[in-house]
Amino acid sequence: LEERLIFEYAHADRSGVDLPEPPKVKDRLGGLRRRGAIGLPGLAEPQVVQHYTRLSQKNYAIDSGLYPLGSCTMKHNPRLNERMARLPGFGDVHPLQPQSTVQGAIELIGALAGWLTTLTGMPAVAMSPAAGAHGEMCGMMAIAAALAASGEGHRKTVLVPESAHGTNPATAAALGFSVKPIAATADGRVDVAALKAALGSDVAAIMLTNPNTCGLFERDIREVADAVRAAGAYFYCDGANYNAIVGRVRPGDLGIDCMHINLHKTFSTPHGGGGPGSGPVVLSARLAPYAPRPWVVRDDAGWRLAEEDGAAGDDQALGRLKAFHGQMGMFVRALAYMLSHGADGLRQVAEDAVLNANYVMARLKAELTPAFDGPCMHECLFDDDFLKDTGISTLDFAKAMIDEGYHPMTMYFPLVVHGAMLIEPTETQSKHALDEFCDTMLHLARKAKSGTAAEAFKAAPLLAPRRRLDETLAARKPILRWRPTNQGPGDGPLKQAAE
């Protein structure tokens, strides 16, 4: 059965919510009472539950199986965390209640901040960024603020390796920096010589991901850090791949100045189909004074949110990044995850994540072509060399995986590798599941190389809720909302079949 849009089920006269009769009053709407209907569809509760249940059944998810997306860390999302986030003391408190009535909530933010700074070996953390990219913005603002404070506002260049996430250059550019790409070496790491050469007096910062997006640890990171600092610049580390080293290496020991942490990657808060995220940023001592408001303070009177600068106006804070105090719901989940694992468990997380990725690489290299030699960290990268002359692209290969019951890996990223396939199994997959996955991948690779399967690959997927979708059409003639004139599926195949 096709699932209609809610608008196609609708009846204005129906509602899935019963509300009491409003008391009779003279309205005080300043003459601005709405005229005419909004047009919202009305469904009864049973229909709503069925609609969203059926929609959900068209989704792949971590709960369905292995989710090998590189750089996205699709690990198990514990349900304990969901339960904790829904405790009334966390889920049902208002951000502007008197602070005396939310001491435990502020304490929780403080406790999470303590875990983050201790784990990373950094002295401070800004908790309010709403997502990883928001954290990048926060960190780069702090760098801009520090430069401004020291009279070095002229530093307007930011160095970014070619393999970086798109958010890195986008963030730098948004803040008015000019982005200078740094090449990669043949072994998939940043070209330290090129980097040093670029480190002039115009350079504000370098933005480096470590482990990098090729799944490799930047061996020379200490040397990079020293050079950056010597050049008077700041070292921004993209923490998207923190899962590979959490509990085993402290980023603070690497000489970085700031790093955002995706709580939905390393610390298991759910991706939720694309958000909400949460991106606290740990800061070095030289950036800490510029952290955004508010922050958490503990003093004799208890826990306190430092929300506003003093009347003296001597505040160095870079400002406020969002209303209220950050993604509390994600904080609770992340802290529940950290407490569950503990320092010992988090170390094991990193080890198992790296072990799983190397195991997959070891098994797959029988048929696929690893992009680089040597061990990887938490994700393994292949190029499309093994598909040469097959007429099958990375995309085709990925779509064929869907018919085998898997979500595709990350494709065509990082850009430095041709037809990249980036696989991150995460530590929450069993050896059994990895073996099943590897068996399938090897089978597909052999099939691809057989020389007779190109058409089958191009036709994939066949078994998914939809076959390949026309993205060009979508972009050329954007239909971004339903309108009554849209043709529903009621006139489509189903109706015909029934006749």
Partner: protein, 448 residues
């Protein structure tokens, strides 16, 4: 450890397959000087669910939950009743643990609800197109200004004195570091400002909140005309989306961009986050929008389907030339929002709005009878400003000790505005009972 499926036997076998002797061999690219020999000091070891529940439960118990007290706190986040089925549905693993729908063939669930969400947002706001959500209302407002700057190629934003101070602070932070100017109107507790006077040829947009943070409801059509005459855009911010069930939508008053905080529907208070930002605009400005967009298309069999579209605006394609650095949206909160709104439907949503307004009017009438209390608003939706005969913050604190959460003292938001020290914002939603109103009034009579 319960989340880690590998056994020691597995690990040994896997190391052998890889061809290394120990896990350390896989970390050999990490300089030895920074490799930690054991668990990081100063942190607890792993613990079971029972123990985690005890620890976090103790923290949770130290907070006064909104449902456990007469509750009048608003100012940008509102307590509404969320039907049980909303939370049930968003917790389905296929929604909760799914990634961004970059593989549309196996994420039609997410894509379809986002398409439905976008449509509902256009209906509510009276606009033509909407994106698939922003982090929240405040960051959405800041993105709206950046978009207006791009569209108009101007560099100055006028901010209303009725704009939520946090929103204003977020825009100012963006302005400071991303390099544009802000002209802020004075605090407008009485709802009488004339923003049109501030609009000149340098202005990219005027940002105005309706109802204002002080609760005043205003006809923005004249302001829209003034903006358009000067080549500027009108950005309308709505922090209480339920008001759109009863008030003329911003689109009908001439808004070019509408940003709403969507927390009121489906999401809950959560001590400030995560929330969900709604972002809507005119069709002709579509390609300057930030954030993800879902569009309708067809699959290889000609069946209707949905995809993320116009992603050439976005950072993962355009990198430093992107319209915004935003990568995430607030997918799951958008889902909660759209489910709640679907449950309500036209009839439920408009009735919810009526119920909020009527209850708030009752509360305003009752509080106006408390000696020394003055209600500042002629017009409002479900939140209004009262002037007390003394500073509001200690009054609120005194009432909190009586387990009444009376509202937000304006001084919490504007600590450096001495004229506002006696002002209190009082929000009244459908969750407020007559008994609650009476408790607040009686409490005020007691502590004033």
């Amino acid at each position: 450890m319960r989340y880690l499926p590998l056994t020691d036997a597995d690990r040994r076998e896997m190391l052998a397959t890889i061809g290394v002797r120990s896990i350390d061999d896989l970390f050999r690219d990490v300089p030895t000087s920074v490799r930690l020999p054991g668990p990081i000091a100063g942190l607890s070891s792993h613990m079971g669910e029972m123990e985690v529940e005890r620890r976090l439960g103790r923290m949770a118990a130290r907070n006064l939950a909104a449902s456990d007290a007469p509750f009048f706190v608003g100012a940008g986040a509102y307590k509404h009743h969320v039907p049980a089925s909303v939370d049930h549905l968003i917790q389905r693993g296929e929604f909760l643990t799914s990634y961004t729908p970059y593989q549309p063939e196996i994420t039609q669930g997410t894509l379809q609800y986002l398409f439905e969400f976008q449509t509902q947002v256009t209906m509510l706001t009276g606009m033509e197109v909407a994106n698939a959500s922003m982090y929240d209302g405040s960051t959405g407002a800041s993105e709206a200004v950046l978009m207006a700057n791009r569209v108009t190629r101007r560099n100055k934003a006028v901010l209303s004195g009725g704009l939520h101070p946090h929103y204003r602070a977020v825009i100012e932070t963006t302005a400071r570091w991303q390099g544009f100017r802000v002209a802020g109107a004075p605090v407008d507790a009485d709802g009488i400002e004339d923003l049109a006077a501030l609009v000149d040829k340098e202005v990219s947009c005027v940002v105005v909140q309706n109802p204002s943070v002080f609760g005043h409801v205003r006809d923005l059509a004249p302001l829209a005309q003034a903006c358009h005459a000067a080549g500027a855009l009108l950005v309308v911010v709505v922090t209480e989306v339920v008001s759109l069930g009863l008030l003329t939508p911003p689109g009908d008053m001439g808004a070019d961009i509408v940003v709403c905080e969507g927390q009121s529907l489906g999401v809950g208070l959560n001590f400030g986050g995560p929330y969900v930002g709604l972002f809507a605009t005119r069709e002709k400005l579509m390609r300057q929008m930030p954030g993800r967009l879902v569009g309708e298309t067809v699959d290889a069999d000609g069946k209707r389907g949905f995809v993320l579209t116009l992603s050439t605006r976005e950072q993962h394609i355009r990198r430093e030339k992107a319209t915004s650095n935003i990568c995430t949206n607030a997918g799951l909160c958008a889902l909660a929002f759209t489910i709640h709104l679907t449950l309500l439907g036209e009839r439920g949503f408009t009735r919810l709005a009526e119920l909020n307004h009527a209850t708030a009017v009752r509360a305003a009438e009752r509080l106006a009878r408390v000696p020394g209390v003055k209600v500042l608003n002629d017009s409002f939706f479900n939140e209004f400003t009262v002037m007390l005969p003394k500073p509001a913050a200690p009054v609120v604190e005194a009432l909190a000790e009586r387990r009444i959460l009376a509202g937000v003292p304006v001084s919490r938001l504007l600590p450096h505005a001495p004229l506002c020290a006696d002002l209190l914002l009082v929000a009244v939603t459908e969750t407020v009972s007559d008994d609650d109103i009476e408790a607040l009034a009686a409490g005020l009579e007691e502590v004033l």
